[in-house]
Amino acid sequence: MSLLQIKNLVVEFPGRRGTLRALDDISFDIAPGEILGVVGESGAGKSLTGAAIIGLLEPPGRVAGGQILLEGERIDNLPHARMRHIRGRKIGAIFQDPLTSLNPLYTIGRQLVETIQAHLPVTVQEARMRAIELLNDTGIPAAAQRIDHYPHQFSGGMRQRVVIALALAAEPKLIVADEPTTALDVSIQAQIITLLKNICKQRGAAVMLITHDMGVIAETCDRVAVMYAGRIAEIGPVHQVINHPSHPYTAGLMAAIPDITAERERLYQIDGAMPRLNAIPQGCAFNPRCPKAFDRCRQDRPELMQAGVTRAACWLHDANAGVVA
C-alpha cells in the first residue's frame, strides 16, 4: 500500500480579483521507502505541493478539493492540533535555507531535544543521547561537543546536516525536502545528497525531493514528477523520464540544460515563459510553447495517460486517437 496518496488535489488562493488556482487536480503516490523527485520551474507549484502535504499552506491559500492520505488516513482536513502531532512524527520537513530553519537563539541541542520530546516519551537525558546519536549519523564531527553550539557557529553544509537530524528526530515515515541543496556549493551539495539518500534508506523513510536541479533528481530518485503551471506534466521512473521523455515540455527542459559531458554550439530553448496563474491558456497549458501542438491541444485539457512506462499529460499519447509520437 502507498504511504502517501494525493488524490485530485486542488489548492486555491482567493483574492480580490478572483481566485487563483495554483495546484489543479494533482494525483500521485509515494511508496514506503521510495524517493520521489518533483521538478519544475519557479511557479510550477512544486513547493506548494510540499506545503499542502505538511499542512503549512500560507493563508489565504487553502486546499479547495481532493484528498491527501497518509497511510490510508486523510490528513488534509485535520484540526491544527492533530496536524501538529503528525508533522515531525510522521512527516519530517527540510527546507532550502538551513539558517532560517533553525532558531538562532537556542543551541542546536536544545532544539533537537525539544523536537524529540515533543514526539517521543523520553526524558531529557535520553533525548540528549539520541540527539548526539543523530548528529553523529548525519556526519557532524565531535557531535558531543557540537551539540551545545549555536546555529551561527556552523557552516552552511553543517547546518543543513543539523536540519536533516531535526527532520529525522522522531523517525518519520516521510520526509518532504524542499530544495535542500540549492543554497549550498556543489561539493557540499554532493555530501548532503549522499547523506540524505543513505540515511533515509537505512531508516526506511520515503522522501519527496523537491528541486529544480535535474542532476540531483537523476542521481537520487526512483521516480520523478515533472510539474508545469500547477499540474503534473509527466511522472514515471527517473531513468525513463530523463533519457526518453514523453512530454514535449520534459523533452525541452532536458535539452535546455547544458551538459557537462558534451558540447553544443547552441542550447535548445523553449521560447516564451510559463503562463501566469491568471492567464493559463485553454486546453493544455503548455500548448503556446509546444512545438508539437495541434488543434486538440488548444481546446481540451489532457489528463495523465499511459505513455510507455511513464504517464504524461499530453494528447500525443492518447491511445484512442491513434496518434503516437
Binding site: 519557479s42 556543489v186 561539493s187 542521481e219 530523463i242 540544460i257
Partner: protein, 346 residues
C-alpha cells in the same frame, strides 16, 4: 553618435591575438578588524581578509574566460576589481594597453569605464523598480554623453531592446512587468548601451530557471559573435561554464589554482580541486550512480591553512603541501598551482 558606431565595426573584427584584458597579480585585502576602541581595550588584533590574493590571467579579444569556484573564493571580488568598483591592494589591470586603475582616476576614466560594463546576478535587485525600461537603458547613454535628444535616445533604446529579443513597445513598462529572464535581458541591453568591448558577467543566469537560462545564454553567445564582445563569465555551474567559455580559471580561497583551455580542463583536469569539482556534479544520464563525495569544507578565509590552502581536503597532500605554497606554474600547456602535479605524482 557616428563615432560610437564606427568603433563597433572595428571591434567586430576578430582578435589579433594580443590580450585585451590582462590582470597581473591582482589582489584585494579587506580590513575586517574590530573598531579601534575594541582593539585598544580588548587587545584584539587587526584582521585582514585576503579576498583575492594574486590572480593573473589574460583574455583575448572576442574570447570568454570563465571563473569558477565555490562561494567565498573571491570570484565576485575579481569582477568588481575589473570594472573598477574596487581599487586593487596590489597588482593591476591592463586594458587594451593601458593601466586601467590609473586611467579610472583621470578624466579619461569615464571613457574607459564605458568600454567595460557589468551584468549582475540578481535581475530583481539590479533594475530600479521605479524607472521605466526606457529610462533604465538610456541612463548609461545619457550619463556618458553618448547620445542626446529624446528621439535619438528612444531609437537607440529600441534597437538595444530588439538586440536582446525584446520589443521597442516594452519601453514604457516597469521592471515588475517582466519575468526574471526578461529582466536579465534588460540588464544585458543596458550593459550594451555604451557599446562596450568587455563585459563582466557575475553569475548572470544563476537566478534563472533552466529553460530561461538557455534563452539568456544563447543571446549572450549571439551577441559575442555579432559584436566581438569579450567576456569574463563568473559562475559556480560548471556545465554552464563548459557551454560558454573558451578558457576556464578555477579559484580557491582567493587564488587561481588552475587555468586552462576549456577542452583541456574538462577532458583532463590537473588540480585535485578541479577534479573534485567535476566529480561533484550530478551526472544527468547516469541515473542512480552513487558518487564518493569529497569530505571537508572551504576553510575560513580569515585564517587560511598554511602551505597549499587546499591541503586539508586534498587526497594527495604530503609534507611539502602543508608547509610550502605552490607556485602557479605552466605545466604541459596548463597553468596550475599544485606540488603534486609539478612533481608528477598525479
Amino acid at each position: 553618435m557616428s563615432a560610437v558606431f564606427k568603433t563597433t565595426e572595428v571591434q567586430s573584427t576578430k582578435g589579433t591575438g594580443a590580450p585585451l584584458v590582462q590582470a597581473h597579480d591582482l589582489a584585494k585585502t579587506f580590513d575586517v578588524s574590530p573598531p579601534w576602541l575594541n582593539r585598544v581595550l580588548e587587545r584584539k588584533p587587526r584582521l585582514l581578509l585576503k579576498a583575492v590574493d594574486g590572480v593573473s590571467f589574460e583574455i583575448e579579444k572576442g574570447k570568454t574566460l570563465a571563473l569558477v569556484g565555490e562561494s567565498g573564493c573571491g570570484k565576485s571580488t575579481v569582477a568588481r576589481l575589473l570594472v573598477g568598483l574596487y581599487e586593487p591592494t596590489r597588482g593591476g589591470l591592463n586594458f587594451d594597453g593601458q593601466d586601467a586603475h590609473a586611467v579610472f582616476k583621470t578624466p579619461a576614466g569615464r571613457q574607459l569605464r564605458s568600454r567595460i560594463q557589468m551584468i549582475f546576478q540578481d535581475p530583481y535587485a539590479s533594475l530600479n523598480p521605479r524607472w521605466t525600461i526606457e529610462n533604465i537603458i538610456a541612463e548609461p547613454l545619457r550619463e556618458h554623453g553618448i547620445l542626446e535628444g529624446a528621439a535619438a535616445l528612444r531609437e537607440r533604446v529600441g534597437d538595444l531592446l530588439k538586440s536582446v529579443g525584446l520589443s521597442p513597445l516594452d519601453m514604457p513598462k516597469y521592471p515588475h512587468q517582466f519575468s526574471g529572464g526578461q529582466r536579465q535581458r534588460i540588464s544585458i541591453a543596458r550593459a550594451l548601451a555604451t557599446e562596450p568591448e568587455f563585459l563582466v558577467c557575475d553569475e548572470p543566469t544563476s537566478a534563472l530557471d533552466v529553460s530561461v537560462q538557455a534563452q539568456v545564454l544563447n543571446i549572450m553567445k549571439d551577441l559575442q559573435r555579432t559584436r566581438g564582445l569579450t567576456y569574463l563569465f563568473i559562475s559556480h555551474n560548471l556545465a554552464v561554464v563548459r557551454h560558454v567559455s573558451d578558457q576556464v580559471g578555477v579559484m580557491y580561497l582567493g587564488r587561481l589554482v588552475e587555468l586552462a583551455d576549456k577542452h583541456i580542463l574538462f577532458d583532463r583536469p590537473r588540480h585535485p580541486y578541479t577534479r573534485m569539482l567535476l566529480d561533484a556534479i550530478p551526472k544527468m544520464h547516469d541515473t542512480g550512480r552513487a558518487r564518493t563525495p569529497v569530505s571537508g569544507e572551504v576553510p575560513n578565509p580569515l585564517n587560511p591553512p598554511g602551505g597549499c590552502t587546499f591541503h586539508p581536503r586534498c587526497p594527495h597532500a604530503n609534507e611539502r603541501c602543508r608547509s610550502e605554497r605552490p607556485q602557479f606554474l605552466q605545466i604541459q600547456g596548463v597553468r596550475v598551482a599544485c606540488h603534486a602535479v609539478e612533481e608528477g605524482r598525479i
